[in-house]
Symmetry: C2
Subunit: 176 residues, 2 copies
């Protein structure tokens, strides 16, 4: 299956596309970051993120979009921006009938490193190894987006089938 | 000027349209709520809010969209949903080149009641009086959306002109 992972953020929104199935080697199809200027109006930043997401979805046609689940125990300002960027990512996917899965940062870290408390360097190192890359993807947001996609592919094969069925059903309901 | 106010929320997103200028009687052009089912997938809820916003924007063609500025000192879960719904509202406006203004809940309360700590009933009563309505708009989210629009019209005539110039400039840049 092909999964597009999103590490949401207003300043840097990491995006990574991974293809494969659990138990077999995975392949990276693309990785990058959608950036928006910190001094721009919030509405225009969200429009830029939407445009970036649309381009990634057009190019890679993922079967599922995996987004980091946002918590608010972190820095207040950052969290609001993260929640807003994640909303745009989820909106773009759902509008196309692509199912959305949410994974917490600790689920992602545990999936790729074996520890839910791994640091960024460890996540980057494991993403590099798992996808057989020449070097860790930069910035960290890009590596995190790939880790999200890997986490999804490894964690929930049954869950994916269920979600796809639900999304197909919802899409049929809308277009009927 | 015509302002569409948005009191963002996933379960109930209040929307109210007010026309007029500071110092003269204001007119309500429309009020309502976009609802999404609490048991629906978050992506589908955001798509429903987008669709609702588009309908309101198509029908009323506001010159500005005023959205409640979200803070995270409240309940964690509610705040994330509020931030996500507000992102969709801002995205829909900015995509059309409509300027977005943010006002805090206390700015809105102070504008319509004279006190930044007024309760919902007081806001509802003043919205009813200011717009010469037969009864307070229900639910409270709808009244709050009207209060946001009133607040914007009363607070910042110079600010509005500046924002419109900036938005026009941005729009020209995009379509050029």
């Amino acid at each position: 299956m092909r999964v597009l992972g999103v590490d949401p953020g207003l300043t840097r929104c990491g995006i990574g596309v991974v293809e494969g199935v659990a138990g077999r080697p995975l392949a990276m199809l693309g990785v990058g970051v959608v950036r928006t200027p910190a001094d721009a109006d919030i509405g225009h930043r969200l429009v830029a993120i939407e445009r970036g997401m649309e381009e990634w979805l057009d190019e890679h046609r993922p079967e599922l979009v995996a987004v980091e689940r946002v918590f608010s125990q972190h820095n207040v300002r950052t969290v609001m921006g993260t929640a807003q960027a994640s909303a745009v990512a989820m909106l773009c996917a759902s509008r196309r009938g692509i199912p959305v899965a949410l994974h917490t940062p600790s689920e992602v870290k545990a999936a790729v490193t074996g520890s839910g408390r791994a640091d960024k360097a460890q996540v980057g190192a494991m993403v590099t190894r798992i996808l057989r890359l020449a070097a860790p993807p930069r910035p960290a947001d890009a590596a995190d987006a790939l880790a999200l996609a890997i986490c999804h592919i490894w964690r929930a094969p049954a869950h994916n089938r269920l979600q796809q069925a639900v999304a197909q059903h919802a899409l049929k309901g809308r277009t009927a």
